[in-house]
């Protein structure tokens, strides 16, 4: 089986769909994080309920159930967790976006500080 045979097995619309999907998803991987607010404060939600709201500048280690969340140097990570997948651990340190641990129903989101939403933007 050769590449020519693969290409012969596709229609024009297949190729268009493939190109569009790759472009759109590839571009959004790069673009979406750029629109996320950088550091400020952390929201830690468990079961969709807000549990903590912490400034990201303050070094701190907190325990949420069987998870350990560490805040250091303006970044946050999950230091330890008992969940099976350990996706949250693999994400490492982040200063924007969020870490999600589905088994523990924990969502850690970096969001702008309320002050930054106000007048401080004049500098930009």
């Amino acid at each position: 089986m050769s590449i020519a045979e693969i290409i012969r097995g596709t229609t024009l619309f297949d190729r268009i769909l493939l190109a569009v999907l790759f472009c759109v998803t590839g571009a959004s991987i790069i673009l979406v994080p750029l629109y996320l607010p950088r550091g400020g404060q952390l929201r830690i939600e468990v079961d969709n309920k807000l549990l903590y709201r912490l400034p990201i500048g303050q070094d701190k280690t907190i325990e949420i159930g069987h998870m350990t969340v560490e805040i250091k140097n303006g970044k946050v990570r999950v230091a330890d967790s008992d969940c099976p997948g350990k996706i949250c651990l693999r994400q490492g340190w982040i200063d924007r976006g969020s870490i999600v641990c589905l088994p523990n129903r924990v969502v850690i989101t970096v969001e702008e500080t309320p002050a930054a939403q106000g007048g401080v933007d004049a500098t930009t």
């Binding site: 229609t11 297949d14 999907l21 969709n48 099976p84 997948g85 996706i87 589905l102 969502v107």
Partner: protein
């Protein structure tokens, strides 16, 4: 439906289940991102036997698979159930449009599988649009890659099915 077709469907469901199970043994950087090889079987069933058969096989795979692996009614189960149903419906619609070949159908299936999963995650577990927005592009990109691989596999299998002198062809 002929008795022979029932046996074939049972065999196809077994194939899908086996792929679903063995796929877990492939190491992956992120545990929930997988190739979805079972979609190869779903897609072939859809093309050869139609919508009802494909939906049956998906439901059998998701139910039996979750019981074998031990995630019945857990988050992975709900995600594969919603994703599987979404993908079968989407592929059926794409098949009816009649402009797509196996690759396009496979890509549609992969895309809607992921959309279904993300909706399920949003509806059932995490009402946080921002974290879904971060996850979605990566999941959809890898889904497209997986859809490409599966699509190529389906192209090969369909070629072989067409060559077979057996009465598979008559049902097409």
């Amino acid at each position: 439906m002929l008795q022979r077709d029932k046996y074939r469907l049972a065999l196809l469901a077994a194939c899908a289940l086996a792929l679903h199970g063995f796929e877990r043994l492939i190491p992956s950087p992120i545990p929930w991102l997988r190739f979805g090889f079972a979609n190869i079987i779903t897609l072939i069933t859809l093309v050869v036997y139609g919508f009802n058969a494909a939906l049956t096989i998906t439901l059998v795979r998701v139910l039996m698979g979750s019981m074998l692996i031990g995630t019945f009614l857990g988050p992975p189960f709900i995600m594969s159930l919603v994703g599987g149903c979404f993908s079968v419906v989407a592929m059926w619609i794409a098949l009816r449009v009649r402009v797509f070949g196996p690759l396009g159908l496979s890509l549609t299936g992969a895309l809607f599988h992921n959309i279904g999963q993300l909706l399920a995650v949003y509806a059932v577990f995490i009402q946080n649009l921002r974290s879904i927005a971060v996850l979605a592009p990566v999941i959809l990109f890898i889904g497209t890659l997986a859809g490409l691989l599966n699509g190529i596999a389906v192209i090969f299998i369909m070629e072989h099915l067409k060559k077979m002198p057996d009465n598979v062809q008559n049902t097409l």
